[in-house]
């Protein structure tokens, strides 16, 4: 037999991935060896360091990859400037996301359950809470997810892509289930995400199988090559390719959150712990879109020359999905009453805008997509970070509503996510509101924010591909999207906050299974994260007011960075545009 040949591996090119994933492994070990008190700090430091390291390696690698893209491990990792750019964006966004995750706020509690496995409302849970347990495993999970995403965006091999998909998804499923409050919702979100995610994975991998059947390989570039050369094992079975690519695309579109594979998005975004939602919305979208672009474009390289028919079919798929996504995202978004849900639909709408750009199959799409992902990700993480700070607080009658950090009386509860509850926020927390408004404006694509340059790029992409009518549709959808961002803005900035115990009178919109209802009267001792599936029930003597808790630092830093970046990217985007323009090569 052949002699074993040690594979030549360009470890340096793998460094960003190795750092992040390796740190994840280390993090798991830390759980075992570091004492409980120091565990959280250690984990945070490790996680941030790993992501920063990953980012540093991306920066370090950048010039040489731009000069010469490489394929590592036999093409399993194909490091093109585009992929590297995507890795960098994911690492950066993950870094910001982790900052938000790490913030315990002035309440001293993070957003995660002390023990996620405890049944909500049981004495075991109370005990865990009282003894101050913390689920520090979330940090390695985050690292795994981030690593998976980075790999997802930088592979040419469909099976590696599948594995990366699972590596990024599985931690997210778990993370979704770990919310400290409203745990029923959290668990439900996890279950839905998991079942639908698994379903989508199955579709994806079956698509891979069909492509394999058609081309005899699962390497995109090889497929393209073989199609071009006509060296196909099964002649005349291009239907296999179309079906395969369709299914693979569906798997990716699921992660992107495109209609009609979007249904999980609002539910999961709402139910998951808010910092995780921010992380997920920004990073997963970045990874999935990057992967989608790679798959579609590499396939298109192959089929464009040989079979324009298939090319057209591909384009039709993207166009149809883009139109549906924009329409559904904006239209349903316009009737939402929950901030997180609204942001979820906003993320669907943005998936649509991204697809508009991609559908053009034009030459600048790679760079404009990367810019879009960055702009959108920054605004999204910032926005969800703000959501984590707007809380309900239970006060006893007669207590003054104060908007400062936690006052002595009253107990800070979960996030106040009803839009109506955000009334008067501008008065309570002007800086926070200003930042949030900035994120909304960026998402709305108002000029002088990053979102505008991004949207311009996307629509320009469609127009350059001849799909000017799609750009017009995108513009119309933007108008609707603007409307719902504006609604939130109006409530925050212009409406006076109500001091009346409104939240008590508000109908509890979700059905409350009695077994899991939080305890109304019996006051949980410190901090009182009542494990409840729904809005907090308060007794008549108490009322719930909306308050803004002070960040302990990390989240504030994240918000500030996001806000500044949003403005800089909007006013002076040249530098970043230069970078992403260099990244517009994804074929090694």
């Amino acid at each position: 037999m052949n002699e074993f040949v040690a594979p030549e591996i360009d470890w340096l090119a793998l460094a960003p991935l190795i750092v992040v994933l390796g740190a994840g492994v280390v993090g798991v070990l830390l759980e075992a060896f570091v004492p409980a008190r120091a565990r959280r700090v250690t984990q945070i430091v490790l996680t941030l360091a790993a992501l920063a390291g990953g980012l540093a390696f991306v920066v370090y690698l950048w010039p040489q990859i731009v000069a010469q893209p490489v394929q590592v491990v036999g093409g399993s990792v194909t490091l093109t400037p585009f992929a590297l750019g995507a890795q960098g964006i994911i690492a950066l966004l993950a870094f910001l996301g982790v900052l938000v995750v790490a913030d315990r706020t002035a309440t001293g509690q993070d957003a995660f359950a002390p023990t996620a496995s405890a049944v909500p409302g049981t004495s075991y849970e109370d005990l865990a809470r009282k003894s101050g347990l913390e689920q520090t495993e979330i940090y390695p999970l985050l690292l795994f997810a981030a690593g998976g995403m980075m790999l997802f965006a930088s592979t040419d091999d469909l099976i590696v892509m599948f594995i990366a998909l699972e590596v990024l998804s599985l931690p997210l499923y778990v993370l979704c289930a770990t919310a400290r409050r409203r745990r029923l919702l959290s668990q439900e979100a996890a279950a839905k995400y998991f079942l639908l995610g698994a379903f989508a994975s199955a579709l994806f991998i079956f698509g891979v199988a069909l492509i394999y059947g058609f081309a005899g390989t699962v390497r995109l570039l090889e497929i393209a090559q073989r199609v071009q050369q006509g060296a196909l094992p099964l002649e005349g079975m291009s239907a296999l390719l179309v079906a395969g690519v369709l299914l693979v695309t569906v798997g990716l579109l699921f992660k992107v959150g495109a209609v009609p594979f979007h249904a999980w998005t609002p539910d999961v975004y709402t139910g998951a712990p808010t910092p995780i939602t921010g992380f997920m919305a920004a990073c997963t979208k970045a990874a999935a879109v990057a992967a989608l672009v790679e798959v579609l474009y590499r396939i298109s390289i192959g089929v464009q020359a040989v079979d324009p028919e298939i090319m057209r079919q591909l384009q039709v798929v993207v166009v149809v999905v883009a139109v549906l996504t924009m329409a559904v995202g904006t239209v349903i978004g316009s009737v939402q009453t929950d901030v997180k849900r609204l942001l979820a639909y906003s993320s669907i709408a943005h998936a649509g805008f991204l697809l508009v750009g991609i559908a053009g199959f034009g030459p600048q799409v790679q760079s404009s997509t990367l810019f879009y992902l960055l702009a959108y990700g920054i605004a999204t993480i910032g926005a969800f970070a703000v959501v984590t700070l707007v809380r309900e607080r239970r006060v006893t009658p007669g207590a003054q509503e104060d908007n400062g950090p936690v006052a002595d009386d009253g107990v800070v509860l979960g996030e106040a996510t009803e839009i109506a509850q955000w009334a008067g926020l501008g008065r309570k927390a002007p800086w926070l509101t200003a930042a949030f408004a900035l994120f909304l404006l960026s998402m709305a694509g108002i000029p002088l924010t990053a979102g505008f340059i991004a949207k311009f790029g996307a629509f320009a992409g469609a127009t350059s591909g001849g799909l000017w009518w799609l750009a017009v549709l995108g513009v119309l959808a933007s108008v609707v999207a603007v409307a719902f961002y504006l609604r939130l803005l109006v409530v925050m900035v212009f409406q006076p906050g109500t001091v009346e115990p409104d939240s008590q009178a508000e109908p509890v919109e979700t059905g409350v299974p009695t077994s899991s209802t939080g305890d109304g009267g019996e006051g949980p001792t410190e901090g009182g994260g009542v494990a409840t599936a729904t809005k907090v029930q308060v007794t008549a003597a108490q009322r719930v007011v909306v308050t803004v808790v002070r960040s302990r630092g990390p989240a504030a830093v994240a918000i500030a960075v996001c806000a500044i970046a949003t403005v800089i990217l909007g006013v002076f985007p040249s530098l970043v545009l230069n970078l992403v323009a260099e990244a517009s090569k994804f074929v090694p």
Partner: protein, 527 residues
Amino acid sequence: MFPWLTALIAWPLVGAAVVALGALGRSRTGSANAGTGLARPIALVFSLVEVVLLVGAFLAFDTGAAAEHQLAETHAWIPQIGTSYAVAVDGVGLLLVALAVVLVPLVLLAAWNEQGRDEVRLRRFVGLVLLLQAFMVAVFAARDVFLFYVLFEAMLIPAYFLIGGFGQGAGRRQAAVKFLMFSLGGGLIMLAAVIALYFLAVGAGVDPSKAFLLDELVGVNLGTIAERLMFVGFFVAFAIKAPMVPVHSWLPDVAGNATPGTSTLLICVLDKVGTFGMLTLCLPLFPEASRWAAPFVIALAVISVLYGAIMAIMQTDLLRLVGWTSVSHFGFIILGIFTFTPLGTAGSSFMMLNHGLATGALFLVAGFLVARHPERSQRITDYRGLRSVTPVLAGTFLVAGLATLSLPGLATFVSEIMVLIGAFGGAPAGSAAWTVAAIPGVVLAAIYVLLTYQKIFTGAPAEGLEVLPDLKARERIVAAPLVVGLLVLGLVPGLALTYVDAPAQQSATTIAVDEPADAAAQMGSDK
């Protein structure tokens, strides 16, 4: 050469930054620093220095070549998408910049006591005003389509907050949303056209790194259909901004709910971007499409003239009324622009300035009036017989009203008559007939102005209004420059016409360059 335009743009930004320091702090009424703060004086000083800068710009401007775009500065901004920071003004642009610069200190003075004494709130207010000013100055100076678009949209945001956050009507939030939705809706349609313009221009051989520079784009043949589509994209945005019937619905709500100062900035300056855009973007970029659309546009313009005036007559709310009069006046401006005669175009350009002064005066004086009412009522019928109570206020109101109805001797008359006389001989089909149809607008104007004056100032003083203070010194200082300006420009309009005449000649020439022969024949038959 000193970068006058950049200075004019940057200076208010600096001012906004200065007053904004701490503007986002907590708002607490009655705190120690209430009313003692420096926000208003600082902003006023900034806006006055801005006037000095304006004088410098005027001195540096060569009136002999008013059709040229002067004081030009061009720097690459986002070369990847071919956009530059390119600013320059011709005579029209300079006058509109002047309008923006001059009105801001007056508005600040007029609103001196309007926003209460909470320092934080005041800082926000004056900060937004200065920010808006910077954007407005920039948009009139922009010579890059992308830059123009960016500013066109960006200036909506401060305006939006000024309406929604500082307005005095109960419906201010809805008004702000309506304003923003209409404007953004139009703006986004324009965005599609802007993008298309870029690709078509690059396709037609324009250097991609300069593909948004107006100077590069003018004269590029884009193809008839594409040109028309893009014209529609631009025009819709401008028509909404202008505002033109039937996309005017946001205006009365804004006028009725914003503070008079905000309305002044918004309607007297910001909305000029609509007509300015038609003049400096639509016409030179899409000459063929402009000619194609002109009959339709003229018809809509004249309908706006009459519609706005009729609606003004029917109003019961003083500030809404003033808003409606603007719909009517903008109709005249658009009529002048789209009949492509040098005289009409010059008249429209001049009218943009005059309307700013006249309507600004009317808004501000109406604001003074409303501020005197114990309940700050805007209902016209809540006032009666104030001529004997506040004679100076009444007189100022009347002068502003007469300027609104274009009384000869005031600047507004000169521009209106230029538009009418010019438009009558316009090239597009039906110019003459539509112009004649617009003339009754002057009668309707007399009705809405004098009816309002009659209701508010004549008869026996209304109960509770028997004793009101007359215009204070501060308020007189606000009104005086506007009134003097209207008078001086009415008697010596040459002061301003020097600036608008040459651009108008050039614009009319450009549009007529490849004028087909039948249009000339049309012109003859109209006579």
